[in-house]
Amino acid sequence: MSMLYSEEVMDHFANPRNVGVIEDADGVGEIGNAKCGDIMKMYLKIENNIIVDVKFKTFGCGAAVATSSMATEMIKGKSVDDALSLTNKAVIDALGGLPAVKIHCSVLAEEAVKCALADYYKKQGIDHPVIKEAEEIMGRGEDHDHAIPEE
């Protein structure tokens, strides 16, 4: 089993983009738990349906930091609809691949974006399917990253 990271993963881990907090964020999403070893928190600033700023904080491994960083880069300046369609696979591809045991990090990154967008819609008083999706994600709780079979 290879544990080697791609150059893109190492770059995003060593120089993570968009680390930080947005104090007056329009949407905030947090996913994961300390017991499992990774937590991602994502902050969105949204104007006229466009994500004008995004910041993240992550507790986790190199892949967790890199997928958070890449996910923020992929949605920054994009429309809310574009962000909603971000998949973990797109994050993996943009990073030039991930070791099999790290795939769950990319899932967390996708989910963190979804949870932040759900929070945005809730704050706007807009009923959107992503709210229910985020509730399901949060409801899975501790089992979130246990979907990877043992190798």
């Binding site: 089993m1 300390a34 499992c36 937590i39 246990h146």
Partner: protein, 394 residues
Amino acid sequence: MKRYVYADNAATTPVSREVVDAMMPYLTEKWGNPSSLHAKGREAAIALEDARGRIAACIGADAKEIFFTSCGSESDNWAIKGAAYAGKKRGKTHIITSAIEHHAALHACAALEKDGFTVTYLGVDKNGVVSLDELKAAITDKTALVSVMLANNEIGTIEPIAEIAKIAHEHGALMFTDAVQAVGNIPVNVKELGVDMLAFSGHKIHAPKGIAALYIKKGVRIDNLIDGGGQERSKRGGTENMPYIIGLATAIENAVARLPEMKKVAELRDYLMDNILKAIPYSTLNGPRGDARLPGNLNIGFEFIEGESMLLLLDFEGIACSTGSACSSASLDPSHVLLAIGVPHERAHGSLRLSISTDTTKEDADYILEKLPPIIQRLRDMSPLYESVTKANV
């Protein structure tokens, strides 16, 4: 100035120059098979038995009690499975081990469980010391083997093997200890320990990977793991790995000769420990202090951060170390050793193991002390867990 500091000697060690020099003739000129009757073979056979005797002397054993294997995992598997299947013939189908063994020993026990054996996993205290009361309560006349490591690879705890062996023998069980981390780091004498079997490996003491040994006390009968052409007195088949066996002999002699220097290694470890704990808040030592742990082993947990990230950032600075984080391995759980001593999952993910050696200098330690605190701070600044702590303190 950037340095390279290797602080992962519990994982493996560089092969020393003396070991390479001792091995070379057995790769180039003295390439005979010790089983051959001709001159080339006899030359190898003499060297093989000389090496066996030198190695035996380093641990207080007789030459005939040393059996060469390919790695520590093979020695562990042979001792545990060999003793279990030998015991089964006498109606003994119970094994006792500890919760903090190396995976080679733990997984050998798990394989035996699948084959009908019962295994008791002894708990440990907060310092990682095996509970003798639990051992006394668990052991019966059905116990074939007690297997407890001499020193732990993650937190350096040195176990009371002589006492454990005494209890095992009182109940007619064999006693095996995995001494892979201990040999060459603390004095090891098989007679003082009173063990029936003891495993050690070359690559932890500056010999190459791919050579290890199992001490089997004279008169102790265990089943073979590898049957073959009569090598190792028909107990372990396979043409002897001559260059590596010669390397192991040189390495263990050098390591034992340098044992007096381990006091200095322990002092350097304590210097690192004291200064890390002082410089970095929310940090805790995992495992015991002082002589209760291996001289070169240091394991510290840092809250609010994850170990793999820390390891990678230290690696960028030229510092090689290990972590007990789940993310550093294929498993999703953090170190079974840290969990066994009661470290919560959250803190186990942020653990750092530094394992230093006689080659580690004060300058190396100071370099670690210079680079580590800003790395921890950088990761904490990025951690949503730390955010909530700093806010709570305002």
